[in-house]
């Protein structure tokens, strides 16, 4: 246990981030203990519930650990090919413009194989929300290097740590999409602590509100963990993330609409 979270904190009502939303199904999640995917699903469901848009929301799952997100959210969903979720979202939103459309993608999905779809849907300013889980690794395939793996970080294909001279530099996708005219709201958050969970949830809510106004693409990066791929306990992974990922991927807003 870290010193900044203790059991008394966890049971306080305002910290009970995992009250089950009515937009969640009864299915047991397959995620590893401590993984950020589960928390993020929960807050997406909460926002949909609180905004009363369950009937009007269509989600797109990626290829990656969160491929089965459709088992957990009680909404209509489509499962995309690896990296192509924004292409599906583009068509869905253009054909059903009154619906709320979001994609949920890992870093391999969004920032490697799907780079073109990400950049171009953001550049066209598609009225969709892209939720980008950056855990610095390919979780599903067993912990290989991702485009976001930071310098020196070990993975099953960078067993001695990422050597940027050999393997290239980690890609900051959020910084890139924030420069594109089609994006309206771009932010980087995390879900590793109750306070951060609340902030991320607010960001998701804002993004859906903006979607109603047809303002362009909203892009939320969530710097997250992969205890299994990183070969750490959940707590160690969160500490490692704060110490190593946050300096390279600082949290905060990149592009906020002028109110």
């Amino acid at each position: 246990m870290t010193d900044n979270i203790n059991i008394q904190d966890i049971v306080k009502t305002e910290n009970l981030v995992h009250k089950k939303s009515s937009v969640m199904t009864e299915n047991t999640m397959h995620y590893c203990p401590g993984c950020g995917h589960g928390t993020t699903h929960q807050i997406v469901a909460e926002v949909i519930e609180e905004m009363g848009i369950q009937q009007d929301t269509i989600g797109i799952t990626p290829v990656g650990c969160s491929v089965l997100m459709y088992n957990y959210l009680d909404i209509d969903m489509q499962e995309a090919a690896h990296g192509r979720a924004p292409a599906l979202a583009t068509a869905i939103k253009r054909l059903l413009p009154e619906k709320f459309v979001f994609t949920y993608q890992g870093d391999g999905d969004l920032a490697a194989i799907g780079t073109a779809e990400t950049i171009h849907s953001c550049n066209r300013g598609e009225n969709i929300l892209i939720i980008f889980i950056n855990n610095g690794i390919y979780g599903m395939t067993g912990g290989q290097m991702a485009p976001t793996t930071i310098e020196g970080m070990k993975s099953s294909t960078t067993p001695y740590g990422r050597d940027v001279k050999l393997m290239g530099n980690p890609l900051k996708m959020t910084d890139i999409v924030a420069t594109l005219p089609g994006t309206y709201y771009v932010t980087r958050q995390s879900v590793h602590k109750p306070g951060n969970v609340r902030k991320t949830k607010k960001a998701i809510r804002k993004a859906f509100e903006y979607q109603k106004l047809n303002k362009g693409t909203c892009f939320i990066e969530i710097v997250s963990n992969c205890p299994s791929g990183w070969k750490m306990t959940p707590v160690e992974s969160n500490e490692w993330m704060e110490q190593n990922m946050f300096p390279f991927y600082p949290l905060g807003d990149f592009k906020v609409p002028e109110e």
């Binding site: 269509i58 969903m77 292409a87 583009t90 068509a91 869905i92 253009r94 054909l95």
Partner: protein, 360 residues
Amino acid sequence: MKSNMEKELRLMKGNEAIAEAAIRAGTDAYFGYPITPQSEVLEYLTSEKPHERTGMVVLQAESEVAAINMVYGGAGCGKKVMTSSSSPGISLKQEGISYIAGAELPCLVINVVRGGPGLGTIQPSQSDYFQATKGGGHGDYKLIVLAPASVQEMADFVELAFDLAFKYRNPAMILSDGAIGQMMEKVWLKPQKERSKESPSWATTGKTPDRERNIITSLDLDPNRQEQFNIKLQKKYHEIQEKEVRYEKFQCDDAEYLLVAYGTSSRVSQKAIQMARDEGIKVGLLRPITLFPFPKKEINELANQVKGILSVEMSAGQMVEDVRLAVNGKVPVEHFGRMGGIVPTAEEVVENLKTKIIGG
């Protein structure tokens, strides 16, 4: 703005006919990426402002990969969605087509074939027959494949392909070639149909309280369920084979020899038949209109009547394998074809009929 409420005769390129027929068929969306010899489809659609005519969505995607995945998304919403490309672009779409087949979604993919392999040539070819009829991407699946031989059929097959795609919840392909895409002919266009306001029960249109959520996916990690799903798919293909074969016979009644050819090759073959008959050679043509389902039975029956069969294709010999399977050794079956973007002449067909079948 034209009214388009009545049928209309126009002189059009095959590619333009496809585009106009798509608007008139009430297509909901088209996603494409330019490639010769089919770029006129996207050019025609954008110039026609279909969003004003019918509300149809038309978007130039960043790649063929994006385009086919846009088709997947739109098809998952139960919409009539299509894309078109030519050979290299169709290769790029294969993963997406496999997903669409695996998720059992209807859609229309048009391949205006050019010569390959690789960047090949921009001239017409029929060398994508295997890719179109044997699946093309990964996994055990099939497309419903229609082969137009005229500009009129380019137009007519758009609606037919959509009807079959929705009937069987399966992607359909129009397998054309650069010659039919580029040539101009008279074409009767059907009156404008309204875009459908209804959506199928399986479509992702937002979960209403009266139903379970709809999930569009091709994933099932349980091997037993995955096998059951595959068995179901195979049953569907079997049913399509039983019910949807389309073909045309030309001068077969008294034929002693048979040509089998589709698309551009079938037009050349018709001319070859007149020339051969002028010389007293009794030859007929079977033109498959559906390449999957292939007219196996019909060819097998004709094999009881004729002495030999020549499969005429603009390829190294692809459809000839299906002809041989259908004939099952009853009579000799040979192939004649030109490659690399060359359309065979009628003289060449007659000569090859004589040397490979009659003389053989």
